[in-house]
């Protein structure tokens, strides 16, 4: 058993570290801009690409995939090598992982502001980028598993298990949620429609939180926290138990994002039950992290790294207590669509992900550069301003969420809505929006302090690109129980295991093959009066999707009296069968739009889109004047119709030839109606198409009330 000498690759860790810091600052800055726009909509500078509905997805994608994503790669590439006592499997794959990921981020930063978006939250990127993500992710997986196979440490520390679960599940989620039919290079329609699309999306969305923002970070907690405290984790047994419990429960909790929607009741209940169960493994991890510091709390007083980590783990505990609570239907009835959700996710993002990343950076950068941290004092300032920033951010958002929700639900003694004007409930919480942006600014200032501190640290140190280490080689074929060394022969001797593995392989292939036909057949209408969109409405819908209207407007009237009084008949699942993608939204900064069709004249919508303040004084919605100047690309329309036919939408055979003519007729109708109000507009503009879509919304069941079910 010879001792082998090898080098750890620190270069890839440093590169991901730089990307983490740079993209983190960018993503948070975009978030700040969005926060300011919520009370100063003029801050979009009258420019489409900097308007709230386009930069909000940019912010979420940047902080999730660019900041946390790069942070995860940085931390994994450092800890994996050391835990397994092996250099990364391939330097080339590491480099492809790095540059591929940065290119994906860049393409997101370009396409989202241009209004190229699938509108599925945290999966907004269009199909070419989706493919790139899958490829780069698989490369990361090969690199990780290659390293695992070449490890010199037989036991895989619990952090490695968390990393493996992250890889496997994110790959599955991303692929399943990205089944889409391309129309052009920058436009595609999801295979799923309506309720089904919503369910797939939130199965993905919830598990993205679970397996992109949580499991890798728990793995990181289990490596970096004991390292920073120089103590073993409180209970290794607990870490193993809560790992397996967590990953088995998490994947079933997605429907809690769709409580009181048109999703079948039993699916909602399933989501609720699993969400509540989740508190056990989540708190197991949280307590295990905190108790690691038993007898070492004096270190927390002096060490900024531990300070950050303690707050991170505490924030994780709070967010994972709140999550199950928000999954209870009666709590969700109050919290959903409000800023409560925003508060909840930011406790997780700013506290758990942000602070753990900062703690790791302060620990890691001095080690990469073989030097002490430039200033502990500056790190302390960062900690306090960041910590207070989280509080100043989250508390007003809780206040805003509950206030607004109660205003939505308040009736007068006579039985009328006390606040029938939606805008009134928004203006009420503007002071909270202002305070929130102060909290966000404080947090961002902390990040700037960190960047300065890390830069000065780097300048005083010398980068250790190749860190030498030595470890005895793993005895190749010695299984602990002395069984057959050759893996496949071992498999053959275990018929049950072999059977299961074969089944998995076959099932995976089979499921992937029959998905398309299966989904198309299932998109059958259940309400006879619900008809496909006209070509103009379809174009208008694509504009609604691309501009990101779903960021502030839901299309889902829940079955509460307060909602049916305000918006109209509650939404039914059969109404969404032609919605590729669904547009239910998750936040109401503006009113629900599912029953907006026919509520106002065309001219109202025209004026409202040109300048919302004209129609509702004090409105915080940004104007969309460019829609009156840009044209719908009628050349693509027939292709869109054909794509919809492929997806099972029952347009008549050969309708794509007729589509453009029909589109012109309907557009001219709208233009002539607008003309009666003294408005002149070109019939080919996007605004005309959008008006057609808005006027259609939710009207189908009114056409034949007997068909309601």
């Amino acid at each position: 058993m010879g001792v082998e000498t090898f080098q750890y690759d620190n270069r890839i860790v440093r590169d991901f570290g730089i990307a983490t810091v740079v993209w983190g600052a960018v993503g948070m800055l975009v978030g700040l801009l969005a926060a300011f726009q919520l009370y100063l909509p003029e801050l979009n500078f009258g420019f489409g690409p900097t308007t709230f509905s386009r930069i909000r997805p940019l912010h979420t994608n940047a902080v999730i995939f660019a900041f946390v994503g790069n942070g995860m790669f940085m931390a994994i590439y450092y800890s994996l090598q050391r835990l397994l006592k092996a250099r990364m499997f391939s330097d080339l794959l590491s480099k492809i992982n790095f540059w591929g990921w940065q290119l994906i981020i860049l393409s997101a930063a370009v396409t989202l502001p241009l209004g190229i978006s699938m509108s599925k939250e945290y999966a907004e990127l269009e199909w070419p980028i989706d493919i790139a993500i899958a490829v780069v992710w698989v490369i990361f997986g090969i690199n990780m598993f290659g390293t695992i196979l070449r490890r010199r440490e037989r036991h895989m520390y619990v952090a490695v298990w968390f990393y493996i679960a992250t890889f496997v599940t994110v790959a599955l989620l991303h692929v399943v949620n990205s089944f889409e039919l391309p129309v052009t290079f920058v436009k595609s329609y999801p295979f799923y429609a309506g309720v089904q699309d919503a369910l797939v999306q939130w199965w993905y969305g919830h598990n993205a939180v679970a397996f992109f923002l949580t499991t890798p970070y728990l793995g990181m907690m289990y490596y970096y926290m004991p390292k920073a405290a120089n103590r073993p984790v409180f209970s290794y047994r607990l870490s193993i138990v809560h790992f397996w419990a967590l990953i088995f429960i998490y994947i079933w909790a997605g429907p809690h994002h769709l409580l009181y929607t048109s999703l079948p009741d039993w699916a909602q209940s399933l989501g609720t039950v699993f969400s509540i169960m989740l508190i056990a493994p989540s708190w197991g991890g949280m307590l295990n992290g905190l108790l690691t510091l038993r007898g070492a709390w004096d270190k927390v007083r002096d060490d900024p790294v531990l300070k950050f980590m303690v707050v991170a783990v505490t924030a994780y505990g709070m967010a994972t207590f709140e999550g199950p609570m928000l999954s209870i239907k009666s709590v969700n009835a109050i919290s959903h669509y409000t800023d409560w959700t925003i508060a909840h996710v930011h406790v997780g993002a700013l506290g758990w992900n942000g602070f753990l990343t900062f703690g790791i950076l302060y620990w890691l950068v001095p080690r990469l550069y073989n030097v002490q941290l430039y200033s502990k004092k500056l790190a302390g300032y960062h900690f306090w301003i960041g910590f207070l920033g989280i509080l100043v951010y989250a508390l007003p958002m809780y206040f805003a969420g509950i206030t607004q929700s109660l205003m939505w639900k308040q009736f007068t003694p006579e039985g009328f809505l006390q606040y029938p004007n939606f805008l009134e409930t928004v203006l009420q919480i503007v002071p909270m929006y202002i305070i929130r942006s102060v909290g966000g600014t404080m947090y961002f200032i902390g990040v700037i302090i960190m960047i300065i501190n890390l830069l000065l640290t780097v300048l005083h140190g010398k980068f250790v690109a190749e860190e030498a280490a030595e470890a005895p080689a793993l005895e190749k074929h010695a299984m602990h129980d002395g069984k057959d060394p050759y893996k496949h022969r071992a498999l053959e001797r275990k018929p049950v295991l072999f059977l299961v593995l074969t089944f998995i392989a076959i099932a995976a292939g089979g499921i992937i093959e029959f998905i398309p036909t299966f989904l198309i057949k299932s998109n059958i209408p259940t309400i006879a009066s619900v008809k496909p969109y006209t070509p103009l409405e379809l174009e208008g819908r694509d504009i609604y999707v691309g501009e990101g209207c779903y960021n502030c407007h839901s299309q889902m009237v829940r079955p509460f009296r307060s909602e049916t009084e305000r918006y109209g008949e509650y939404s039914k699942s059969g109404e969404f069968v032609y919605d590729h993608p669904f547009q239910w939204g998750s936040k109401r900064t503006g009113p629900d739009l599912h029953r907006v069709g026919g509520k106002y004249p065309d001219a109202w919508h025209y004026n409202h889109m040109i300048d919302p303040k004209l129609m509702s004084p004090g409105s915080l919605m940004p104007p969309y004047p460019w829609l009156a100047e840009e044209f719908v690309d009628a050349e693509v329309t027939p292709r869109k119709i054909r794509a919809m036919q492929t997806l099972g939408v029952p347009y008549p055979e050969g309708y794509d030839q007729q589509a453009v003519a029909d589109m012109e007729t309907q557009a001219n109708d709208i233009v002539s109606r607008l003309g009666e109000s003294g408005i002149s507009i070109d019939s080919r503009t996007k605004l005309v198409a959008l008006i057609a879509y808005l006027q259609r919304l939710g009207t189908d069941i009114k056409a034949n009330p007997a068909a309601q079910n």
């Binding site: 050391r82 599955l172 089904q196 390292k227 120089n230 073993p232 088995f248 079933w252 602990h480 129980d481």
Partner: protein, 58 residues
């Protein structure tokens, strides 16, 4: 709601993959020792010459 069958299939698939991994881990003896792994990860194995040269990390 046929998509639910699909999602349940995929979720079960993930669960089965995890289950197989769990069974493998137990049989491989990954969890035979619940004490030393937590200690062992705290120590780095540096190259001897580096330690002698005083290049030990912080």
């Amino acid at each position: 709601m046929e998509v639910m069958i699909l999602l349940i299939c995929f979720s079960l698939l993930a669960a089965i993959v995890f289950l197989v991994a769990f069974v493998w881990a137990v049989r491989n003896g990954q969890y035979d020792d619940m004490t030393t792994p937590a200690m062992r990860m705290l120590f780095e194995t540096k190259k001897k010459q580096d330690i002698e040269k005083g290049q030990e990390n912080l």
